[in-house]
């Protein structure tokens, strides 16, 4: 089963009057349950592809399919609703809301989904925080946490609403290698336990190793696409 699909996707940015081609004809099928890494040097188009798959951006040409729909011609508001219902994000710089506690940060996407029952939300928040190993730190503010702990909160926040697809743009780039390994192990565990599809970009070989599928980009094109060692086997 396919969760998302790129069909001959191009994305060209205009910088002044100069055309900057960031993605040049990429076709990719992402199977349900994949733990997929997009690798490549800086500027190769990783972020652009994740943004397209994350309905944060639309292609210059080609088609982006997520679930049953395409992002073609959708308004900003519809795209926002679409992300709200189907997608989770993990960012390189954690991007937690500093004035909210760990619990409130993870509650945020549930509120956006309009789940009115506070008990229900709280149960889900506490459950996922236990899973990522932060059950004891729920009332801390992000600034009172280490980088690794913050990224765990971000993973919990992405997963709490049970999305089809979690997109993580260089999730370990701001972490030391040991913590990076722990975060990768956590995401892998979630992938195996819940079957959530993960796509993450990286240029760290240690991180790539864990992927069930490794797509290498070069100059906005797919340079190679191979099964990796880790991850849940795609169905």
């Amino acid at each position: 089963m396919t969760v998302a699909r790129l069909i001959d996707v191009h994305k060209t940015y205009m910088v002044g009057r100069v055309r900057v081609p960031a993605v040049r004809g990429v076709t990719l099928d992402i199977e349900h349950g994949a733990f997929m890494s997009i690798a490549g040097p800086s500027g190769s188009g990783k972020t652009t592809i994740l943004n397209l798959l994350g309905a944060l951006d639309t292609p210059t040409s080609g088609t982006v399919q997520i679930g049953d729909g395409t992002t073609d011609g959708l308004s900003l508001k519809t795209l926002a609703d679409f992300r709200n219902t189907h997608l989770g994000f993990v960012f390189q710089t954690f991007n937690l809301i500093p004035v909210l506690t760990v619990r409130e940060n993870v509650d945020f996407p549930l509120q956006l989904q309009g789940i009115g029952n506070k008990r229900e939300r709280n149960e889900r928040v506490m459950k996922i925080l236990q899973e990522v190993g932060l059950g004891d730190l729920v009332d801390r503010r992000p600034t009172e946490l280490s980088g690794g702990q913050q990224q765990r909160v971000a993973v919990a926040r992405a997963l709490v609403k049970g999305p089809r697809l979690v997109l993580a743009d260089e999730p370990t780039a701001n972490l030391d290698s040991e913590t990076a390994g722990e975060i990768m192990a956590l995401m892998q565990m979630m992938n195996e336990k819940h079957g959530t599809t993960f796509i993450f970009s990286t240029h760290d070989p240690l991180v790539m190793e864990r992927a069930s599928r490794l797509v290498r980009l070069h100059d906005g094109r797919v340079a190679s696409d191979e099964g990796g060692n880790g991850g849940r086997h795609a169905s």
Binding site: L56, A80, R83, F89, I97, F108, P109, L112, G114
Partner: protein
């Protein structure tokens, strides 16, 4: 998929919570902005309550010492009243008074005879306004002259004597007990001079009376002017519950068959002063508006800066599915809360100040000295704390602050998530 879902929105309580906590992110900036708002609110509340106090006081002063609520004139007098003519007098006063007393809303009425006179202390000679008042029976039912006697005593019926304005007495260098000569011209054109003792001084705070006028018993005025049984006006006081317009209309109806008469309300008599009041209000309004604008600009600027600093956070919230309208709500709330915080602060200080002066009173002479502030007031003002006005203006501050945040909030809501996320 999601029953009764409101996708893309935060719960109102969360919006409030976020707004409140975000205020503390840059405490210094929040305090500076809130203080600006507080100052504007404080200034507006104190200035407005002071202005209302002074206006009320000066209206009371005019009514109590000069205009009464209304006056009845012979036709032709009103248009020429500045010259104090003796050609348009009222006679048959008892009958007229009886008619007017019968009108609903009228509490009391008294005849007065105003005339131009020259007064001399033997050295200097000044032109003044003389007013003949009915000492027994009625003048003090309409006017409050007895309360304004600051030295000596009120006039006694049948006794010669005059009450002199404090300013006029100072000008002459005379005091209670001294004698002055009053020079008048009768309606027929003959000069008449009379020596009268000063029985007392009146200080009303109304410059027209204090600096230009003296009061004598009506009979003396009539005698000096050769106008036995006549008056230039019939002054009327309304009962406290009477509506001014209605009562004036009733009086007009009651007298219309009698003679050619004019009924004038105090506002109409004091048109120039009312115009001055409006000018002063406008002036104050403009002055206060400057502070309000400063506060508004402060809030706009603060929210703009906050939204710049949080560009990436905005992008992240949008990536999670918060709609632009949700971002707008967050910043509008933050602006409104800043306004409410400053408004509360300013109102508290304003209440403290008002409450203080409500008990000790605000002595205007201490504030302005003997300077003519353009309002006929002298008494101490007791401003009142009005909770309803206070709460209303506090809420209004919140609304105004939200409006001030509208532009930066709308700007923040139009961010494109990818670009906002790229922001460093």
């Amino acid at each position: 998929m999601l029953a009764e879902s409101i996708p893309g929105r935060l719960r109102p309580l969360t919006i409030l919570q976020l707004g409140w906590r975000n205020l503390r992110r840059n405490r210094r900036r929040t305090w500076i902005t809130a203080t600006t708002v507080a100052l504007a609110v404080l200034l507006v509340q104190v200035a407005v309550s002071l202005l209302i106090g002074i206006e009320q006081q000066s209206f009371d002063n005019l009514i109590n010492y000069q205009t009464a609520h209304a006056k009845l004139y012979a036709e032709g007098y009103f248009a020429n009243r500045d010259e104090l003519p003796l050609d348009y007098t009222l006679t048959g006063l008892d009958e007229l008074q009886a008619t007017i007393r019968g009108v609903r809303g009228v509490a009391a009425t008294t005849p007065r005879l105003s005339f131009s006179a020259q007064v001399s202390n033997g050295v200097d000679l000044y032109a003044c306004i003389g007013v003949g008042i009915q000492v027994t029976g009625s003048d003090h039912d309409v006017f409050r002259i007895p309360q304004a006697v600051v030295d000596g005593e009120y006039l006694k019926s049948g006794e010669d004597g005059l009450l002199m304005g404090t300013g006029l007495a100072e000008l002459f260098g005379v005091d209670t007990g001294d004698w002055v000569t009053v020079l008048t011209k009768t309606q027929a054109g003959a000069y008449e001079a009379l020596d009268l003792p000063i029985v007392g001084l009146v200080g009303t705070g109304n410059p027209l009376i204090d600096r230009n006028s003296f009061l004598v018993p009506l009979e003396i005025a009539q005698y000096m002017l050769g106008l036995e049984g006549a008056a230039t006006e019939l002054a009327i006081r309304f009962s406290p519950t009477a509506r001014d317009d209605e009562t004036i209309a009733e009086i007009t109806r009651a007298v219309q068959d009698l003679r050619q008469l004019d009924v004038k309300g105090w506002r109409e008599m004091e048109e120039d002063f009312m115009a001055l009041v409006r000018v002063k209000r406008t002036g104050q309004g403009v002055f206060l508006l400057i502070f309000i604008v400063l506060a508004v600009v402060g809030i706009t600027n603060t929210i703009l800066m906050a939204s710049f600093e949080r560009t990436r956070e905005i992008g992240m919230m949008m990536a999670m599915g918060l709609r632009g309208s949700g971002i707008r709500e967050l910043f509008l709330t933050e602006g409104a809360l800043t306004g409410l915080l400053g408004g509360a602060l300013g109102s508290l200080v304003a209440v403290a100040i008002t409450a203080y002066f409500a008990t000790v009173g605000l002595d205007l002479t201490a504030m302005y000295g003997d300077m003519d502030i353009g309002y006929p007031v002298k008494d101490t003002i007791y401003p009142a704390v009005n909770i309803a006005v206070l709460v209303a203006s506090w809420l209004l501050t919140g609304v105004l602050a939200a409006l001030a945040s509208f532009y930066p909030a709308a700007r923040a809501s139009r961010h494109i998530p990818v670009e906002a996320l790229r922001h460093v």
